[in-house]
């Protein structure tokens, strides 16, 4: 079932266009990787999908009763968070804020939701721990649990493995794949091509203009896809030589 559709959308801000003629769609249960170099409009696309910035042209349609505020968002970590005195419980619970409206407290159902998601991600034991005392991987799990509180349908992840070591990175990818298999749509913004090739079923490649949108299999047959996979191989060789 279709959840999100971008039709001939142009993105940018302050009258400056960054990407033109963007076309793609996301169906329920898809695993979409949005790849591209830095500064090519990935973060503008994220803001537009979340409804924080209107597209310059075209329209983004939401279907399957999905609203922009119901996308579970995992932003990149900021410096402020790293030494923030908050308990894990407080952070996860704040994922429910898109349903509270002006109500100044959380209902029982929202607290149970938070506990359920913490259990799902294996962080229930850290409930009373301080967020800043956790390791990078544990912090990402906390933020993922918070994002799950905000959604039952779609997660939008912005470079979720940045700064994590390889083992934790793998665990994080496996966890996200598990969530996808349970039926949650994943939109992953990343430049980790190796992971994209491994996990994605669709790929959107942007570089100031939409280069490609389609399934992973088709992407790997295109010239850019081939070039990218070559690059990944070469980087892998380069890293081996460094060792």
């Amino acid at each position: 079932m279709l959840q999100l559709k971008c039709q001939d959308v142009s993105l940018g801000y302050e009258g400056k266009t960054i990407i033109k003629h963007l076309n793609f769609q996301v169906g329920a249960g898809d695993y979409l990787y949005i790849v591209g170099e830095n500064g090519t409009g990935k973060s503008t696309l994220i803001k537009t999908l979340l409804g924080l910035r209107p597209p310059l042209e075209g329209e983004i349609e939401f279907a399957d009763r999905l609203k922009p505020t119901e996308i579970g968002y995992l932003p990149q970590q900021t410096q402020i968070q790293r030494d923030f005195p908050a308990s894990v419980w407080e952070v996860v619970l704040s994922g429910n804020l898109n349903t509270t409206g002006l109500r100044p407290f959380y209902k029982k159902a929202e607290k149970e939701r938070a506990e359920m998601n913490m259990e799902k991600l294996g962080i229930l034991d850290y409930k009373k721990r301080c967020y800043r005392d956790l390791s990078g991987g544990q912090q990402q799990r906390v933020l993922l649990a918070r994002a799950l509180c905000a959604t039952g349908k779609m997660l939008l992840l912005d470079e979720p493995v940045a700064g994590l070591d390889p083992k934790i990175t793998n665990e994080m990818y496996e966890l996200i794949q598990k969530l996808n298999q349970e039926g949650i749509t994943i939109i992953m913004v990343s430049h980790d091509m190796a992971a994209a090739c491994k996990y994605a079923d669709h790929i959107l490649h942007i570089a100031h203009k939409p280069l490609f949108f389609g399934t992973k299999e088709d992407y790997l047959k295109t010239d850019t896809g081939k070039a990218f996979t070559e690059l990944v191989k070469m980087e892998a060789i380069g890293e081996d030589e460094d060792d």
Binding site: I80, A86, S87, S94, L97, F105, A150
Partner: protein, 279 residues
Amino acid sequence: MIDRLSLYFQYPFVKYALLVGVLIALCCSLLGVTLVLKRFSFIGDGLSHVAFGAMAVAAVLNLTNQMLVVFPITVLAAVLLLRGSQNKKIKGDASLAMISVGALALGYLLLNVFSTSTNIAGDVCTTLFGSTSILTLNLGDVWLCIIMSVVVLVMFVLFYHKIFAVTFDESFAKATGIKADSYNLMLSVITAAIIVLAMKLVGSLLISALIIFPPISAMRVFKSFWLVMAASAVIAVVCAVAGMLISILAAAPVGATIVAVNIVVFLLFSLFSVVVLKQ
């Protein structure tokens, strides 16, 4: 000592001073938690200097109600400073420093050139360090303080979870539909209002101590947002009461004594966190 205190407390202005002092310290500490965590500690400092400059303008214009000038100018500065921190042309901290010292210099210049007062040095000292102005509060000032404190407390009760979300992670808060910019605006306007009120208590140079010290002390020991908020409020109230009582007994300046007590509490909390919590 008790006799002397009970003697002092027969005077209504001493009671007013204590009430206003506690309320202002409480509001400053609550706002302080979010300001410190958002790396806006210096906004309090900058705004208080702007308030000093505005006060000088009001004094030169010989206004009977100085608040009519001081309040709007300080609120405007608060809004501009927040906008400025998103504008990249002049870096946030540099623009803050510019406004801060600029207002201080212009204020002092205006007072010196145009003031009709015979005791300029005394006036400046009172505005900068508060000295005895807290003992000259009238009933109107006290009510204004009570109303502002109620506004701040109600705001924190109603919007506590949203304020947490906006402070912890603005991107996520915006994505879940929270109007983060409106909350930032609300916080900065209220901060400006509290600073204008607090000038009477500790003077414009020492206000940021009331904003910064209680949250920082609380953060040394407590590890959840809720406990930091609560502890910060308690620390602020205890320090304000202790500081004012000491200053009355020792005939010391009120503002500086309150800040000194805050410093002592901060050192005690730091010691506790190093020795007991081993952080």
